[in-house]
C-alpha cells in the first residue's frame, strides 16, 4: 500500500534544508508566550477581584465568569488553533460553546431570580 503525503510548497516544507520557519502561518513561539502572560495576568485579576467588597454577591460571579471566559477564549483561539482553522471547524466549535454557555447561564439566572 503506497501512501504519498500531499506536496508542500518548498518554502513551506519543514523538510527542505533551507526552510527556516520564517513566515510560517499559525501560532508562533512568541505568540505562545504572549498568550501565557495574558493568562497569568487574568488569573491575578480574578484572584484580586474576589477580594473586593461589593454589596451584591452576583457582582463577584459576573466578574469571575467574565474573566474565565476571556481566558477560555485565549486558550481556544490561540492554543487550540481555532484562529487558524477553516470556517467549518470554527463554526462547529463556536456553536458548541455558544449552546453550552446559553444552557448554563440561563439556568443559573432562572434559578437565581425565581
Amino acid at each position: 500500500m503506497k501512501h504519498r503525503l500531499p506536496p508542500l510548497h518548498p518554502l513551506r516544507d519543514p523538510l527542505t534544508p533551507d526552510w527556516n520557519g520564517e513566515g510560517e502561518p499559525g501560532l508562533s513561539p512568541r505568540g505562545c508566550g504572549i498568550v501565557w502572560i495574558a493568562l497569568l495576568l487574568l488569573t491575578g485579576v480574578t484572584v484580586q477581584a474576589a477580594r473586593l467588597d461589593v454589596s451584591n454577591g452576583l457582582v463577584h460571579v459576573f466578574i469571575a465568569m467574565t474573566v474565565a471566559t476571556l481566558k477560555a477564549g485565549l486558550v481556544v483561539l490561540w492554543y487550540m488553533h481555532i484562529r487558524y482553522e477553516g470556517g467549518a471547524l470554527r463554526l462547529m466549535v463556536f456553536m458548541a460553546f455558544l449552546f453550552l454557555g446559553i444552557s448554563i447561564s440561563f439556568t443559573f439566572f432562572d434559578t437565581a431570580y425565581r
Binding site: 500500500m1 503506497k2 501512501h3 503525503l5 508542500l8 519543514p14 523538510l15 527542505t16 534544508p17 533551507d18 526552510w19 527556516n20 520557519g21 510560517e24 499559525g26 501560532l27 508562533s28 513561539p29 505562545c32 508566550g33 498568550v35 501565557w36 493568562l39 497569568l40 488569573t43 480574578t46 484572584v47 474576589a50 454577591g57 463577584h60 460571579v61 469571575a64 465568569m65 474573566v67 474565565a68 481566558k71 477560555a72 486558550v75 481556544v76 490561540w78 492554543y79 487550540m80 488553533h81 482553522e85 467549518a88 471547524l89 462547529m92 466549535v93 458548541a96 460553546f97 453550552l100 444552557s103 448554563i104 447561564s105 439556568t107 443559573f108 434559578t111 437565581a112 425565581r114
Partner: protein, 235 residues
C-alpha cells in the same frame, strides 16, 4: 538499542544546527518505522474534526456538572460561599498557574514540532508531564488535608455539614476528581506522543497526533479555568 541511539544523536544534531541546518531534517525514521509510517496514512483534517467531536462530548460531560453547580449555587449561595472559604486559595492559585504554564509548554511543543524542531518539542512535552505531576501532587495534598478532617463523603465531619455545604463538597470531589482523572489521562497521552516523536512516528509532516494530544490537554486546562473561580474564590 542502536536505532534509539541514532535518533538521539540526530536530535542533538538537530538542536545544535537549528532549523536552517541540513541535519535538522535529515532524521528519517528507521526502515521498519518508515514502513509503519507508509502503512498508516494520516487524514489530518479528519483526525482533527474527530478530536473536536470527542472534545464536545467531554464538554457535555463537564457541562452537565457545571449545570448542577449553577442550580445548587443559586439555591445555596451563602453555604457555598462559606464552604468555599475552607479551601486553600493559595494552593488553588498555584495549581492554576501550574496548569496554565503546562498549557503554554504544550502549545510551544506543537509549534516547535510544526516548525521542524521535534527534539525541542520532546523536551517541552517532558516539562509538561512534570508540571502535571506537580498539579496532581498539590491536588492530592489538598484532598488528604480534607480527608484528615473527616471531610469526605461518609466521614464524621461530613455528615454534620449543613445540606448546602455538603452539596458543595459533593460537587467539589466529583468535579475536581473527574478533572484529575483527565489530567492523568492527558499525562499518559503526552508521554505516548513523547515516545512516538522520538521514534520518528510523529514528525513535522505528520504532527496531527501531537496536535490532538495538545487539544486534549488544553481542554483540561480550559475546564480548570472555570473550576478554579467557582470552587476556590468563594464567589
Amino acid at each position: 538499542m542502536a536505532s534509539e541511539y541514532r535518533i538521539r544523536e540526530a536530535e542533538r544534531a538537530a538542536d545544535r544546527n537549528g532549523p536552517s541546518g541540513n541535519n535538522a531534517f535529515s532524521r528519517q525514521p528507521a526502515p521498519d518505522q518508515a514502513a509503519w509510517v507508509a502503512a498508516h496514512p494520516v487524514d489530518a483534517a479528519g483526525a482533527k474534526i474527530g478530536m473536536w467531536l470527542f472534545l464536545f462530548t467531554e464538554l457535555l460531560l463537564f457541562g452537565g456538572l457545571f449545570l448542577l453547580f449553577s442550580i445548587y449555587f443559586a439555591r445555596y449561595a451563602e453555604e457555598f460561599r462559606h464552604a468555599g472559604r475552607s479551601l486553600d486559595r493559595t494552593l488553588g492559585t498555584v495549581n492554576t498557574v501550574v496548569l496554565i504554564t503546562s498549557s503554554y509548554f504544550v502549545a510551544l511543543a506543537v509549534t516547535f514540532l510544526q516548525r521542524g524542531r521535534p527534539a525541542r518539542a520532546r523536551v517541552l512535552l517532558l516539562c509538561t508531564t512534570g508540571l502535571a505531576l506537580i498539579f496532581l501532587g498539590i491536588k492530592f495534598h489538598e484532598w488528604a488535608v480534607k480527608f484528615g478532617h473527616g471531610l469526605f463523603p461518609g466521614g464524621t465531619a461530613y455528615l454534620d455539614l449543613p445540606p448546602g455545604e455538603m452539596t458543595f463538597f459533593n460537587l467539589y470531589y466529583l468535579m475536581t476528581g473527574l478533572h484529575a482523572v483527565h489530567v492523568i489521562i492527558g499525562l499518559v497521552v503526552l508521554l505516548v506522543v513523547y515516545r512516538r516523536t522520538g521514534r520518528g512516528l510523529i514528525t513535522p509532516r505528520r504532527p496531527v497526533m501531537a496536535e490532538n494530544a495538545g487539544l486534549y490537554w488544553h481542554l483540561v486546562d480550559l475546564i480548570w479555568i472555570y473550576l478554579f473561580p467557582l470552587f476556590y474564590l468563594a464567589l
